[in-house]
Structure formats: C-alpha cells, structure tokens
C-alpha cells in the first residue's frame, strides 16, 4: 500500500474529528472529536516512520498515546466538575469565557 493511502485515511480521520469538535453540542462529543484528531496525527507519524525507515516517528507515537490518555482523563474530569457546578454539559451554555 502506498503512503498516500495512509495519509488520506489520516486526513479523513482528522476531518471527521474536526467536524465533530465544531458541531457537537455535548462536551463529551467534543472530547471524542479531539481524540480522533490526535489519532489521525498518530497515524501520520507511524506511516512516515514506516516509509522513511526512521524509528523516531514510532517513538513519538509511543509517547503521544499515553499523553492523549492523560489528556482525556483530565478533560473528562473537567467536564464532570463543570456539570456539577452548572448542571449542564452542553458547550453552548458554558460561556463563562465571555468578555
């Protein structure tokens, strides 16, 4: 399989994730979208590493995955706290950043 197949898959995955982030009303949905985008990046890294015979991309991915997990855990914790305080998990209602 050529490289562009992997890259196309990754681009599609990224676009789906980004679409989810922009359109989902639920905060958990947004978090899921972010996960998809991150994994698209991971696919890119692994694909380049494989095709360039360079191990560095693999090592990067090995670090990115745990960090992603930690980030999700943190994001969910924030969402839960937010839900406890404001009784909602809908992103449109969370406008306390408003200037």
């Amino acid at each position: 399989m050529p490289l562009y197949a992997y890259l196309t898959l990754a681009a599609l995955l990224f676009a789906i994730g980004f679409f989810g982030v922009m359109t989902r009303r639920n905060t958990i949905g947004i978090l899921l979208g972010i996960e998809l985008m991150l994994n698209a990046v991971n696919i890119n890294l692994v694909a380049f590493a494989r095709f360039n015979a360079d191990i560095v991309g693999m090592v990067f991915t090995a670090f990115t995955i745990p960090i992603t997990v930690a980030e999700v855990a943190l994001g969910l914790a924030i969402v839960i706290l937010m839900f406890r305080m404001r009784r909602t998990a809908i992103a449109d209602h969370l406008d306390i950043l408003k200037g």
């Binding site: 980004f18 982030v21 922009m22 992103a91 969370l94 406008d95 408003k98 200037g99």
Partner: protein, 616 residues
C-alpha cells in the same frame, strides 16, 4: 586674635547654632521660655563677637576675607562661601546683632501672652533671621549674598505671618513674599548676567576689575539695573513699596527688626557694597537717585494720612529708604550708609516704642490713644527721642545723616530730587509730630477711658531695649556733633540752616494743627483734598498691582486653563472615547463559547494556508 573675620564668623555661626538647636530639638522649642532664653543668650554672644570684629577692623586698614570652596571647578571654585570683614560690613554686623539682640529681649515682654510652642517657633525664626542677615552682610560674593537675601525674605514671610490664623496677616505675608520675589527675579538675572559678563561672583575680584577698567561697559547698564530691581524690591522702593505697610500685620518687634532696621536696608547695603559697579553706569545711578527721591516724597505724603501708628512708621521707613537710595544714586554711598545706620537705631526705637504703646492700649489707631504721656512717661520720652532723631532736629542721630544726604544729592548735581527730599523732610517732621501730639499729648481719647488704669509703662524687658536705643540715638548725635565723619563733597553753607528750618517748620505746623488746634485739621485736609483723597487710596498703586494680578495674570491663567481643559484634554478624551467605542464593538466577537473560538482558529489556519500556498 587679630583677624576680624574670626569673630565675624563666630557672630554668624552663633545664631545658626541657636536655630539648628531649636529646629531639631522639638521638646526644647515647645517650652517657649527656655527656647527664648537660649536664643537671647546666643544672640548676646553674637553681639559681643560682632563688636569684637568691629574693634579689630577699626584697628586695621583694608579687609579680611575667609573663603571656602563650595562649587569646585577646574579653574578655581565656581562659587564659594565665607566672610568678608571690612569696615562697612563690620559696622553693619554690629547694627544687625545689636537690634536683633534688643528685639529678642523686647519680645520676651511683648509676646508674653503667646502660647509656649508659638513662642519657641518665634525665637527659632528670629535666630534664623539673625543668621541669614549676618550672612548677607558678610557675604564675599553675589552667590552667598543672594542665598542669604532669599533666606531673610523667607524669615520676613514667616514672621509677618506669625499670627497666621489671622487672614490679614497671612495675606500680608504672601503679598510681601510675592512682591519681593518678583523683584528678586530681576536680581537673579542681573547676577547671572554679571557672571557671564565678567566671569566671577566675587566682590573683591569685581572691584579690582572695575578699578582696572577691565569690565566691558557694553550691556552693563542692563545688569546693574536688574540688580537695582532686586534691591528696590527688598528696600521697598517705588513701585515695589506696597508690601511694606501691609507687612505691619506681623508682631511689632518683627517690624522693628526686619521691616525697619535690618532687612529692608539690605537693598541699600547691597548698593553701598557694589557702588563701584554702579558708578560705571551713570544712567542707572540717575534712575536710582530720581526714584529714591520720588519714593521718599510719595511715602511721606502717604504717611501724613495714616491713622495706624505702625503704618505711619512703615511709610516713614519707605521714605527714609528713599533718602538713602537717593544719596547712593547721587554717587555718595557713604552718606546713604550713614543714614542706614542711624535710621536702623532710631526707627527700631520708634517701632519698639510704638509696640509698647500698642501693648498698653491694645489698638493701633492713633485717634483712639491720646494723652498717653501722663500714663506712660518713659515710653513718651523714648518715643520723642526717636521722633526728633527722625525729624532731623539738631544734635540727634538722624539730623546729621539726613543733612549729609541732602548735601550729597545737591553735590551730585540733582536739584530736582533735592527739592523733593527737602519737601519730604518737612513732611517727615510733620507726620511724626502729628503722631506724637495725637498719641502722647492732647486730650485722652474716650476709647480707652474705661480701662485707663490698665495703661502703664512697659515692663522691664521691654523698657530696657527702649532706653538703650534712646541713649544710642542721643549718643550718636553727640558723637557727630564733635566728630564729623569725613566728607566726600563740599557742603554748601546754607544747607544746615535750611534743613533745621524745614524740620522745625514741620514740627510747628504739627503743633499748631494737632496740639493748639489753631489751624483746623479739616481745613487743612480741604485745602489738600485731591492729594488727600489720592493718598487715602494709596495713589492707586495697590490697585495697579491688583489689576496686574487679577486682570492680567488670572486672565492669562484662565485662558491657559481653558486651553488645557478643552484643547489638550479634548484631544485625549476623543482618543480614549474612540478606544472605548472600538473595544465595545470588538467585544461582541468574544461570545465565550469554546466552539466559536475553534471556528476562529480554523478560519485562521485556512487563511494561513491560502497565504502560504498562494501562487506568486
């Protein structure tokens, strides 16, 4: 000890020590009597040192100068401080120390009703004044002279406003300060210009240059005129004389010391000190002579219509300062200086005598006194001694110095000012004896009839300085009768009889009008109605000044204020309003929803991509 600079420096530093102690040690200052004792003690020491300095200078010829570098520069110090002890400065030093000491003793009695902290404050100022004035007298250069000049001005301000809770006193203090300051600007300009002109501030160096003809004459007239401007402000010459009568709001001993004997004569002293410089500019000398004579006559006329005893004396001081200035302008500074010394003695005596009267009667108005000679005979005698000295009765201190001035002005070739001064001498005798007859003789006024038993002679602390000054007046007169000072000019034979006749004419007129009432005072005032009306309005000079202040300066201030408020502030306000409006519309972008920001980021990335990949 043979160097006169040594005791002179001691005389200078003793009051400075007293002031520093009183200024730093607040508990001592708050215990007024203790502070007063300290101050009097130090000023007695200063007097002794000043007399020692005078004795040493009398024994030697020339001068003694001690200098310390103050602003060092490559080619010798730019400015130095020190003492310059010579004949003139030593005798002036004695006058300052003597009057200062006597006034401080007198104040013990005069201000005995004051609260203790106020008394401590008063004596601290008095010590500061004594130091500043002596520093001025002993100044070896223009820089030190100017610093001390401003310091005595400050003390004058502080002491005029001693009763600062009284609005008139506070107003008079500010008036005195501003008017002398306005004149001092001229003096500062003159000193700086002189330095640029000659490269030195030092009197002795300047004197050498003047003698050697090394001072370029071009532009010197402006410089000497500027310096004269400062001197005329301090010495209350027309048109700056208006602050002095108002300065009488201060305590009477202050008027005696600062506004009669010492500080106001600083201008005359400065001109005496630097007369060799002024001789190079005859035009300015002519201005000084004419303005001096005019001031003398103007103030004498003003003194005739005053009813406040201190204001009569104040105008009389202005008038006598005019005499001194006229003599200096005529080119005979020593005559002016002689009158400065005798005037310092008898005017201090008159003020302190007036203070004793005011202290006893409780009013300044001469028409509410009357018949006081019975109740306070000692005060009447000493006041009379001062009055005859001022009026120019032979064998009293003022007679010789005033005749000297008249002779000097005539010898200098100024017949116009001479006539003005002669008329002024007549008026001097008239207004002084007017005060004497109304206050001490004649019918007692009804005003103090009720509490007449309170009116008595001054307590010992006040009486002692009065008697010392009175004896000095007589003593100096007697001294001059036997030993006449060396004359610089030919005195015409008819001058002495004329001066005597003029003085007695004034006295007789005052006697006829106010004692015998042979001539009605009302008739006299009807004859001179226009002059009287003008004099009561102070010849509108105060009005001119207040127009300059209220009309011009406040008008300018209003215009400047309008520009600041509406133009400068306006531009800034428009700018800030625009910023606010822009911020107000931009804040709508901040919805607070995270997803909107993601849209923004996406748009930005898209734009970046387009920009990077745009075909060029």
């Amino acid at each position: 000890m043979t160097d006169p600079a040594q005791p002179a420096l001691l005389a200078l530093l003793l009051p400075a020590c007293a002031f520093l102690i009183l200024a730093v040690v607040a508990p001592l200052r708050r215990r007024g009597r203790l502070a007063a004792g300290l101050s009097v003690l130090f000023s007695a020491g200063a007097l002794a040192a000043a007399i020692a300095a005078l004795r040493l200078t009398a024994g030697m010829d020339g001068f003694s100068e001690w200098l310390w570098a103050w602003i060092p520069a490559e080619a010798g110090p730019l400015a130095s401080v020190g003492v310059l002890a010579d004949g003139d400065s030593a005798i002036m030093l004695v006058l300052v120390a003597l009057v200062s000491f006597l006034v401080q003793v007198y104040s013990l009695g005069y201000l005995s009703d004051e609260s203790m902290p106020a008394l401590g404050r008063y004596y601290a100022y008095q010590s500061l004044f004594a130091f500043s004035m002596m520093g001025l007298v002993l100044a070896p250069n223009f820089v030190q002279l100017f610093i001390c000049w401003e310091l005595v001005g400050l003390c004058s301000y502080l002491l005029i406003g001693y009763w600062y809770t009284r609005p008139e006193a506070a107003r008079a203090a500010v008036k005195a300060f501003w008017i002398t300051k306005a004149a001092d600007v001229g003096m500062l300009v003159g000193i700086v210009l002189l330095w640029r002109h000659t490269g030195t501030f030092n009197f002795l160096e300047l004197l050498q240059m003047a003698d050697g003809g090394a001072i370029p004459l071009a532009g010197l007239g402006v410089i000497t005129f500027c310096i004269y401007l400062g001197a005329s402000g301090k010495s209350a010459q027309f048109p700056f004389h208006i602050w002095l009568p108002d300065a009488m709001e201060g305590p009477t001993p202050v008027s005696a010391l600062i506004h009669a004997a010492t500080m106001v004569t600083a201008g005359v002293y400065l001109l005496t000190r630097t007369v060799w410089l002024f001789r190079l500019t005859p035009d300015v000398m002519e201005i000084i002579a004419w303005n001096g004579a005019f001031t003398a006559l103007l103030a004498a006329v003003l003194a005739c219509v005053q009813t406040d005893i201190k204001r009569v004396l104040a105008y009389s001081t202005v008038s006598q300062l005019g005499y001194m200035m006229a003599a200096i302008g005529a080119g005979f500074a020593s005559a002016g200086f002689l009158h400065l010394l005798t005037h310092g003695i008898f005017k201090a005596l008159l003020f302190l005598g007036a203070g004793a009267v005011i202290h006893a009667v409780g009013t300044n108005d001469i028409f509410r006194m009357g018949g006081l000679a019975r109740k306070m005979p000692q005060t009447a005698i000493v006041f009379l001694v001062g009055t005859v000295s001022l009026a120019g009765v032979p064998f009293f201190a003022g007679f010789f110095s005033k005749e000297e001035i008249l002779g000097a002005v005539l010898a200098g070739g100024f017949p116009g000012p001479f006539a003005m001064l002669l008329l002024g001498a007549f008026l001097t005798a008239f207004y002084m004896f007017r005060v004497v007859f109304i206050t001490f003789f004649g019918a007692p006024a009804a005003a103090h009839g009720a509490d007449a038993h309170h009116v008595h002679d001054a307590p010992p602390f006040m009486a002692l300085p009065l008697w010392i000054l009175a004896l000095l007046c007589v003593g100096i007169g007697a001294l001059f009768a036997f030993w006449h000072p060396k004359e610089e000019f030919e005195t015409l034979g008819w001058l002495t009889p004329t001066a005597i006749v003029v003085a007695f004419a004034g006295i007789v007129l005052a006697y006829l009008v106010y004692q015998r009432r042979a001539i009605s005072a009302d008739a006299l005032s009807r004859v001179f109605a226009p002059i009287r009306a003008a004099a009561l309005r102070r010849f509108w000079i105060d009005d001119v000044f207040s127009f300059i202040y209220r009309g011009l300066m406040l008008g300018l201030a209003k215009v400047v204020g309008w520009v600041d408020r509406y133009v400068v502030d306006g531009i800034l306000n428009v700018l800030s309003a625009w910023t606010l409006i822009a911020g107000g519309s931009l804040r709508r972008l901040q919805s607070g929803r995270a997803q909107d920001y993601v849209y923004g980021i996406a748009l930005g990335v898209l734009l970046l991509l387009v920009w990077v990949r745009w075909p060029r």
